[in-house]
């Protein structure tokens, strides 16, 4: 939770271009063991791009990233840095987990198989071991009775809880959340946030890109504010919300003063 624990992830001055646009303009971030970091900011600020780059779903154009001290995506060579072969990048990805905005469960498999396949195929676990862990995790996210259902038979909130179980099943060093509640109906957000809170309490190292200010304040150890591809401010959660320093964060917080999902609640429309 603090500077005393070793850093799990170090991001140094990372740059990412999309054509002529620069999505990340030199972002640096260090995440320590057991720490929960919330990344906040307006849409288009580069929050999602940051976690997608960390998980190497997208390549970076500058800077560097280290997982447990190991350089991500590149290797040192006598004549300079070279990109790692695909296989090595897959091995690095296997040590991280990701939860997506659109859940991205595999619709052709049952809920149970969605969770067991990663540990079995990638980590060489036996079916019995993988199944036991999957059932344990399903129980933890409150879906023990849905093991044999297909993802499309579940609500969005249930799907996202399965997706979290799937990401945790491989025992990642760090778990990345890319707006995990943004495509959920408002009344389903809390069930997902409470699972994430449970997870944080078990000591999981997490980076959470979110619009849920309440969650960030209650659960995150540290909050990061991004705008236009840069980190504008980062601080411990209480200080971040109660004493924001930069004018941009101040105006962001005052505009988002009301919890956004009450404002969008269909109950207000009906």
């Amino acid at each position: 939770m603090n500077e005393l624990t070793p850093p799990v992830l170090e991001v140094h001055d990372v740059v990412k271009h999309f054509g002529d646009d620069t999505a990340l303009k030199g972002v640096s971030l260090t995440v320590h063991e057991g720490e929960v970091v919330a990344v906040l900011g307006p849409s288009g600020s580069g929050k999602s791009t940051l976690v997608r780059c960390i998980h190497q779903l997208q390549s970076i154009d500058g800077g560097s990233m280290y997982l447990d001290g190991e350089l991500l995506g590149y290797e040192e060579h006598p004549k300079g840095l070279r990109p790692l072969p695909e296989r090595r990048i897959e091995q690095q990805r296997q040590r991280m987990g990701m939860v997506f905005q659109q859940f991205n469960l595999f619709p052709h498999w049952t809920v149970l198989r969605n969770i067991t396949e990663g540990p079995m195929v990638v980590h060489g676990k036996s079916r019995a071991e993988a199944t036991e862990r999957a059932r344990f995790l399903l129980d933890r996210v409150g879906l023990a009775d849905k093991a044999d259902a297909h993802p499309r038979q579940l609500s969005g909130g249930q799907q996202q809880r399965v997706a979290i179980a799937r990401a945790v099943a491989t025992r990642p060093r760090i778990l990345l959340f890319d707006e995990p509640t943004s495509s959920l109906d408002p009344q389903l957000v809390d069930e997902v946030l409470s699972v994430m809170k449970d997870l944080a309490e078990t000591g999981m190292t997490m980076i959470v890109v979110t619009h849920e200010l309440g969650f960030a304040r209650d659960v995150a150890d540290r909050c990061v504010f991004m705008a236009e591809g840069q980190i504008i401010e980062q601080a411990p959660a209480a200080q971040f919300f109660d004493a924001p320093e930069s004018p941009r964060l101040q105006s962001f917080l005052s505009r988002a003063g009301r919890p956004p999902r009450t404002a969008e609640s269909p109950a207000g429309i009906l």
Binding site: L57, E90, G118, Q153
Partner: protein
């Protein structure tokens, strides 16, 4: 005003729509009668016209040479379909690859082989010996390691398999490509995020989902190929059509013999269609109770209740 309306409504007994009868639809009745009339006319024509010679059809339907021809048509279809599907899948991956040289080669292949009529290809491959007297494996522009005479290698069977498979591969490539593109990119992200290799992602995540899009047009390709095997009669291969041709060349029963062939084609096509439906159902798992608004609402409500 409002209370008056409410009282009036309370007095009127609410009806029950469960007892409602179907509406009479005159146009539908008319069209149904018309279809029955046409079907009856066709049936009468088929039965009463003596030129169909149904007794001759019955005599030759299970003739060994006809059944032999049928067997040739079926196995040629299956072999060419298997080769075409495997080659087509590789070509589809090639076309979608970020490896420029491979992508261009695959696109060029599809462009050329989709554009050449299969009949032309069959004749071309059958006459390969004219163009290339010897087939050799060796280093390009270098020494030969092993070689055969083209006339020994190219029989009407190999010419038929090569010609139809290469043609089929080009079409299957486009079908598989559209199937792969139909799978949401989030599925690839999620698979990569779990640490699956690109091969594991393709075989475990992308292809099984792409099959839902691939299977229906593949069924049509299979049927098209079965009928396409009738082309091999031009290179003297004994398929179903050629087996009946050989008989009517002798007996002059052209129409009844063609009917024999048509019956067998229809039997096989019907069986293939039934098989296709079963395969579609298999790959439709997890989609059967797809998200209608109602089922989703029910799911959410039950979840809230729980």
């Amino acid at each position: 005003m409002t209370t008056l309306a409410n009282e009036e409504r309370a007095v009127r007994r609410p009806v029950d729509v469960a007892g409602a009868r179907a509406r009479i639809r005159p146009v539908r009745i008319l069209v149904t009668l018309l279809i029955i009339a046409i079907a009856a006319q066709v049936a009468v024509f088929l039965i009463t016209n003596p030129k169909f010679e149904w007794d001759v059809v019955a005599t030759y339907l299970f003739e060994p040479s006809v059944l032999g021809g049928l067997w040739v048509s079926i196995y040629l279809t299956v072999i060419c379909m298997v080769i075409g599907s495997v080659l087509g899948t590789l070509l589809a991956l090639g076309q979608l690859s970020d490896f420029t040289a491979v992508r261009w080669a695959c696109q060029l292949y599809v462009g050329i082989f989709r554009g050449i009529p299969p009949l032309v290809q069959l004749i071309f491959w059958f006459n390969l010996a004219y163009l290339v007297p010897r087939i050799a494996i060796g280093i390009p522009f270098g020494p030969e390691l092993i070689s055969w005479s083209s006339n020994d290698v190219i029989s009407s069977l190999t010419a038929a398999i090569i010609g139809l498979s290469l043609h089929e591969a080009a079409y299957m490539s486009e079908i598989v490509r559209s199937g792969i593109l139909s799978v949401d990119s989030g599925q690839r992200d999620a698979s990569a995020a779990l640490g699956f290799s690109s091969r594991q992602t393709f075989t475990r995540v992308v292809l099984p989902q792409a099959m839902r899009v691939i299977v229906p047009p593949t069924g049509s390709q299979f049927i098209g190929l079965l009928k396409g095997t009738s082309l091999v009669s031009v290179i003297a291969m004994g398929d179903l059509l050629r087996s009946v041709q050989l008989i009517y060349n002798r007996t002059y029963d052209v129409v009844p013999m063609l009917i024999v062939a048509v019956i067998w084609y229809l039997v096989v096509v019907t069986l293939l269609t039934m098989l296709q439906r079963r395969i579609e159902a298999h790959f439709g798992r997890g989609y059967a109770r797809a998200v209608t608004t109602k089922s989703r609402r029910v799911a959410q409500e039950s979840e809230i209740a729980a």
